[in-house]
Symmetry: C2
Subunit: 337 residues, 2 copies
């Protein structure tokens, strides 16, 4: 069917079964390349459900990307969206201290979407799965007016207990694996496209980081092994997610602004766009760095670096401070506001 050359082959040409089969073929390539022995994958994609032999506690999380809200097709190709869908789901699992193992993916899309977009999307999924040490084990395809991608990640808490948001204690060190602000800088650069020509070439990497985040998945299990008391994926901005840890733990997270300076790329973009680089670092979302708390004196596992400390909540007021000043909670990404 299709393939005439006059117009791209679409989902309507390929049909649901053909499309799922194509995605599975690509994902299986990732499975073969990614993890070596897959003897734990007892039934892969293609039956009613996948069947996995997972030893230990299973971490599970789901997250969705919506065209026009979470990405624009003019900026994000299928590969970008595939990487991002896998990356943000694995980051949530890693934030519990679990090693990513498996991904299930649902794609709802218009019938005139080029089948090539979906093939590239599957390649993106497979690439990020390989980076995370996981495989695609199931999927679903539906018709819709816009592209809506939902991923569900499964991971294994190997040995150690899961790391929750609620375990931070006064005296703990607050540490960050990965950087924040680069995704926000990249988004700002895309939105100010006309000025992009003036950006130093290196700084353009923030656009890649916005389109295809690279969370430090391995840092999650490493933090659990090192005795982390609390952890969170900073998907909605550093301050907002730090606030969630503070609230769940009933403590104050006092962040050190000197440890949270914008890097050279982010500073260059902010300078060019007359924007506030520090605002991007503190409140920009979608970088998927891991924020964790460790008992004082812990040897922080790579690539964690200290960015603050945990204080007792004076008079019951949990929250976040930056350099001792209370953050008012006014910034951070919200989906309906």
């Amino acid at each position: 069917m299709g393939g005439s050359g006059e117009r791209p082959v679409t989902l309507a040409d390929v049909g649901e079964d053909g499309l799922v089969a194509s995605v599975i073929t690509v994902a299986a390539r990732g499975a073969a390349a990614g993890r070596g022995a897959l003897d734990w994958l007892r039934v892969g994609p293609g039956d009613d459900a996948a069947v996995l032999a997972l030893t230990g506690l299973v971490a599970a999380s789901t997250d969705t990307l919506v065209e026009g809200h979470d990405f624009l097709r003019q900026w994000s190709g299928g590969h970008d969206v595939g990487v991002k869908a896998a990356a943000q789901n694995f980051a949530d699992v890693a934030a519990m201290g679990a090693a990513p193992r498996a991904l299930l993916v649902s794609v709802a899309a218009p019938r005139d979407l080029p089948a090539e977009w979906v093939r590239e999307f599957a390649e993106g999924l497979a690439d990020e799965c390989a980076r995370a040490g996981a495989v695609v084990v199931g999927g679903d395809v539906s018709g819709a007016e816009q592209i809506v991608v939902t991923g569900t990640a499964l991971g294994v808490v190997e040995g150690a207990a899961p790391v929750r948001r609620s375990g931070a204690r006064p005296g703990d060190v607050v540490a960050l694996a990965g950087v924040t602000g680069r995704s926000a800088a990249g988004l700002a650069l895309l939105q100010a496209d006309a000025r992009r020509a003036g950006v130093p070439r290196g700084a353009l990497r923030v656009v890649d980081d916005h389109l295809r985040p690279r969370p430090p998945h391995g840092a999650g299990p490493a933090a659990a092994r090192a005795g982390a008391t609390a952890m969170i994926d900073t998907s909605d901005g550093l301050l907002r997610d730090a606030g969630r840890v503070a609230t769940a733990s009933g403590v104050v997270l006092d962040l050190d602004p000197a440890a949270l300076r914008a890097d050279d790329d982010v500073a260059a973009v902010a300078s060019l766009l007359d924007a506030d680089a520090q605002e991007w670092v503190l409140s920009g979302g979608e970088d998927h760095a891991l924020l964790a708390c460790f008992p004082a004196g812990s040897a922080l596992p790579e690539p964690f670096r200290p960015v603050g400390r945990v204080l007792a909540a004076d008079g019951g007021e949990s929250g976040v401070r930056v350099g001792g000043e209370a953050w008012n909670g006014a910034v951070g990404w919200r989906h309906f506001e």
Copy 2:
């Protein structure tokens, strides 16, 4: 925020965090009522990921409902969509011989969707979870132009090996748990609304069965324990899904039309609408009955009843026959065709 009485409270009023919290509260009610001891649920909704202590093999499947494609808001309320989203995902897990345990749910929806719709949706999820013996362990909410609901079900293969589509052998009995055709009859009745007044009252139950399917979840693990050789959730129509078992197993499934007669409700609706009741039974989708094959002489577990037998594929031609006549594969639901 909202609540003025002039217009319904919407997602935009409640915000993402408020909405997720509300869904979690309702789902937690289901958790408390549903399964008694939940000591296997180590971390429930509200952290980056749920953490589950699942012993044995884990079955995982994902499926999506799209407004305008899989349901219409004029016919399906939030409760209906919640039940359906949970039911169809648990049916896929049950079809591997696994007992449903957990559900993760993503909702993408317009910002002007009444928050009440989402609350009813959460009630529907909780009700179907209680019926299946499972709980909602995670969720996500996003903005979108139309409602797109993705569920991911996790189940446990307790002891027995998973039942795949590929194990049917010549001589096996083909058996069905649940009925087919009622969902298609219900859909036809909704589409022919003007004539609904003439339908016998009892037959109107097919509309409920279309809006809120009731798959026989327990029959899946029961079939596995009874030695089922192959199994499938008949979500896309009996013949089409039987064809998938036949192809995967390299056999012929010869179905007995006498065992697949329309029930009185379906026959009454077909008569009223001048439709073909047998066509609904053989090709109508979304009933989520379980089709399984058992070695000859097996005691079929409740509520399975024999509907055919497995024959060798003559000359390599696997496929489905009805009363000895080959089915040409022309009917059955496809999402993009």
